[in-house]
């Protein structure tokens, strides 16, 4: 009893001590500016490629996340949503009304992502949860417009604020690495083998190097080792520089090889948070000089330099973030609750940092059957879906079910509930195609839920590993 209390006191002392450790706030200011600018750029890029129209306005039908069916594109106002998201990114960058800006950003960005799951990307999810975390961190404590307006600036912030961002980045890398510990990735070099050998048109390396078997294995194993080791190499000060060089090399390489958009930029930027605050201070000084030269640097004579920033509500925020991180560590393992092969049925696949692990091609058609007279016909799905939606729908069971219900609603008469059957074939990571959905199950009668989808036929093969 006595021993237990002592240990308890010891731990809580340590937590108390840790909570009162401070570090220079330039790191948070640096991260705020970089994050804000990257988000501004992402949104401009997304808009200029015409994707708002193509992905959110043109489709007649949208695939929803379970529980978020009420979130849909809002017609022409969708553009307004992106403007709100852009303006809040801008405000984050300059640190004006930071709290409101980051909350607005989190809400608008997450709303955009929830509108249609066809566009799901791991790094969009990363941005969503990162911005959620940033709501609770004082990113405007230094070098921000808020400082000037409130006449207050802080040079020190609690260390845990910076470390919580680092922790999130470490989780991403480590879980991405763990997910690569499977037989397809390590023993078959799949799906990299397919992807790399299809890049025969790249200059210099395409014709010969990317066709080599050992290159496929080297890159699979290299990617796995990279993901699992990079967090530690970044944390440890003596390997940090070489780690950063590796980060840049790795992500630029993936940028050249794969159409992965903003992900490399975001990850390269995020890894710079591991540098010491001295580095961040230097960068801020450079920005200061540039702003001065442009005549955009305002000096507030009344600005009071305080030392420590004490976070209001720290006693609520810290436990909240502990729960947040606990959830982050268990969500990727929810797939264990489902029988069968994860890469095949994809139940519990998303939100788990499983990046570039599967190459899937599907071909799914739907049969509408009238139970009254037994007549049936096949539907031309391309009448209802864009080519991009059609592609994503064809190999993901939750998409197939949602679309089957959509078809059921369209073709059912008032007093005649029709039946919907899927004729579906999928190939995974270079395997021969096989039937994906039980063709005898009327999908119109199946409900979406978190329960195991029994109408997915099992993969006739086994992938070993995590």
């Amino acid at each position: 009893m006595w021993m237990q209390t002592e240990i308890k006191n010891g731990i809580s002392d340590k937590i108390q001590n840790y909570k009162s450790e401070y570090t220079h706030s330039s790191t948070l200011a640096f991260f705020r500016i970089g994050f804000g600018l990257l988000m501004c750029f992402s949104i401009i890029r997304f808009w200029s490629k015409g994707w708002i129209e193509q992905l959110y306005l043109l489709p007649d039908f949208h695939f929803s996340y379970y529980g978020f069916e009420w979130i849909k594109p809002i017609g022409e106002y969708t553009y307004l949503l992106f403007i709100i998201c852009f303006v809040s990114s801008l405000l984050i960058t300059i640190g004006y009304k930071y709290k409101i800006a980051i909350i607005t950003f989190f809400l608008s960005f997450t709303y955009i992502e929830l509108m249609d799951k066809t566009t799901y990307l791991n790094h969009y999810y990363f941005i969503s949860i990162l911005s959620f975390l940033l709501i609770f961190l004082p990113l405007n404590s230094y070098f921000s417009l808020d400082n000037i307006l409130n006449n207050k600036s802080y040079s020190l912030v609690p260390k845990w604020t910076i470390n919580s961002i680092k922790l999130l980045i470490c989780i991403v890398y480590i879980y991405a690495g763990l997910a690569k510990l499977n037989s397809d990735w390590l023993l078959e070099a799949m799906p990299l083998k397919i992807w790399l050998s299809s890049k025969y048109d790249l200059p210099i390396i395409g014709e010969v190097l990317l066709q080599k078997n050992w290159v496929h294995y080297l890159m699979s194993w290299g990617g796995m080792i990279y993901d699992l080791s990079i967090p530690f190499l970044l944390i440890y000060s003596r390997t940090r520089l070489i780690a950063f060089v590796l980060v840049v090399f790795f992500h630029v390489f993936t940028l050249v090889l794969f159409p992965i958009g903003m992900f490399p930029h975001i990850m390269i930027f995020c890894s710079t948070i591991f540098f010491s605050s001295g580095v961040h201070k230097k960068v801020l000084n450079i920005i200061k000089t540039i702003l001065k030269n442009l005549g955009l640097y305002f000096k507030n004579q009344k600005l009071k330099q305080s030392d420590q920033l004490n976070i209001v509500g720290q006693n609520i925020i810290v436990p909240l973030l502990i729960i947040f991180f606990f959830l982050q560590t268990i969500i990727p393992f929810r797939y264990l609750a489902y029988p069968g092969e994860l890469f095949w049925h994809e139940q519990g696949y998303r939100f788990s940092w499983r990046v570039m692990l599967i190459e899937k091609v599907g071909y799914t058609n739907f049969k509408i059957k009238n139970p009254n007279d037994g007549s049936s016909f096949m539907v031309d799905s391309s009448k209802f879906l864009t080519p991009f939606q059609l592609k994503q729908m064809s190999f993901q069971p939750d998409f197939i079910l949602e679309f089957a219900h959509h078809l059921g609603d369209i073709y059912s008469g008032e007093n005649n509930r029709i039946e919907v059957y899927a004729d579906s074939f999928v190939a995974l990571n270079g395997r021969a195609s096989q039937r994906f959905i039980d063709p005898k199950v009327n999908l119109y009668n199946e409900k979406e839920s978190i329960n195991n989808k029994t109408w997915i036929l099992p993969l006739q093969d086994e992938i070993k590993g995590i």
């Binding site: 490629k49 994707w51 193509q54 992905l55 566009t119 990307l121 791991n122 790094h123 390590l186 023993l187 078959e188 397919i194 992807w195 050998s197 299809s198 890049k199 025969y200 048109d201 014709e207 010969v208 066709q211 080599k212 078997n213 050992w214 294995y217 194993w221 080792i225 794969f258 159409p259 992965i260 958009g261 903003m262 992900f263 990046v355 570039m356 190459e359 899937k360 091609v361 599907g362 071909y363 009238n370 007549s375 049936s376 016909f377 096949m378 539907v379 031309d380 864009t386 080519p387 991009f388 059609l390 592609k391 074939f425 999928v426 190939a427 270079g430 021969a432 195609s433």
Partner: protein
């Protein structure tokens, strides 16, 4: 640190040696530019030249009929019509460049024909054949209607030899000839650009040819010739929607010819002769697939596609010459052919596209 590294290297080398299903390196021995050259020289150009020659023949037979309308000159015209339609089966696959731009396929072979529109065009004498509403009132299905579809049958000779009908027949033939010349000019002037566009992008000749081939197989061959008339996409069969409905007897011949052209394209055989492409590296789509799928050993995708196509061909050859009768008498047998063709579609759209890593969609959204 060093120890961890050595351990990892050990793990890697052990796992390499344990795994005997490791494939050979993929060499650049298959040459995509060579493949495009082969398609160009041995399939595309000969198919278009043949079709053009048959069209010219048809035109001259039409003129003979005009000078001397009789049952015998009508027969000559009908025979030449079938040859022209058969030649078309080699052209429809290549919905590429100019052909796509001018809706060549729609103008030559949309069926069923809109006979009401044909009749109103003939009687008014006022029509614009480039108008999309007139696509189903020109081309080969319209000729099929004019030569076989006019009722009662005893009226055909009388009607087709009338001035207004003959004028329409000649006009739509000329339209096909003009469009074919346009398409052939495109191919002749764009050879270099075509055979050198081998990138893995949605706009390269290589990927567009593969996508066009799959599209033709799925839509032009499977759906139009079999699925739609068999009633796969409707509650009941629609035998009136077979290709060449008014002559009926030609429907199987056309489907067989189409499949022959498909096999030539896939296997790498010269148009018409059916001989393998000559030259050192007679690169073909099948050879590329075989090379990429070495890991499957006996079950190589290239061979599996050939086998399934041959099965479908065998079953197709056992159907009635007249698809209209076949669907009415025994649609189940007809549907079984459709199913056999559908099995090929799965291999082409899923297994082949995965292996070639070619995207079917043209949305350049990000991935991760």
């Amino acid at each position: 640190m060093k120890k961890i590294f050595i351990t990892l290297i050990l793990i890697v080398s052990i796992s390499f040696s344990c795994n005997d299903s490791i494939t050979e390196d993929l060499g650049p021995s298959y040459d995509r530019s060579n493949l495009l050259n082969n398609w160009y020289d041995f399939n595309i150009i000969p198919a278009h030249k043949t079709f053009k020659r048959e069209l010219d023949q048809f035109k001259s037979k039409t003129n003979s009929f005009k000078e001397n309308p009789s049952a015998s000159t009508l027969d000559d015209l009908r025979i030449q019509f079938l040859d022209t339609y058969l030649a078309w089966q080699g052209v429809e696959i290549f919905n590429f460049g100019k052909a796509e731009e001018i809706y060549y396929n729609s103008k030559v072979n949309i069926y069923p024909v809109n006979s009401a529109r044909v009749n109103s065009n003939i009687s008014s004498g006022q029509y614009d054949l480039s108008n999309a509403n007139n696509f189903a009132a020109q081309g080969l299905p319209t000729i099929d209607y004019l030569l076989y579809g006019i009722t009662p049958e005893s009226d055909i000779l009388n009607k087709i030899s009338s001035n207004d009908h003959l004028t329409y027949l000649i006009n739509i033939t000329d339209e096909m000839i003009t469009n074919t010349e346009d398409v052939m000019r495109y191919w002749e002037t764009n050879k270099l650009e075509f055979v050198n566009s081998i990138d893995n992008t949605s706009t390269s000749s290589m990927n567009m040819m593969v996508n066009d081939f799959i599209y033709y197989f799925e839509k032009g061959f499977r759906a139009n010739k079999f699925g739609i008339p068999a009633g796969v996409f409707s509650s009941t069969p629609i035998p009136e929607n077979i290709e060449c409905y008014h002559s009926k007897i030609n429907s199987k011949k056309l489907a067989m010819e189409s499949l022959r052209r498909i096999i030539e394209f896939y296997e790498g055989l010269e148009y018409g002769t059916g001989y393998p492409y000559p030259g050192n590296s007679g690169a073909s789509l099948k050879k590329i697939i075989i090379e990429l799928d070495q890991a499957s050993g006996e079950n190589n995708l290239g061979d599996r596609i050939s086998d399934k196509i041959n099965t479908a061909k065998q079953m197709l050859s056992e159907l009635d010459e007249n698809f209209y009768n076949q669907i009415n008498d025994n649609n189940t047998k007809f549907l079984r052919v459709y199913d056999a063709i559908q099995e090929v579609v799965v291999l082409l759209k899923v297994d082949m596209l995965q292996l070639l890593s070619i995207n079917v969609d043209y949305v350049d959204a990000d991935g991760d």
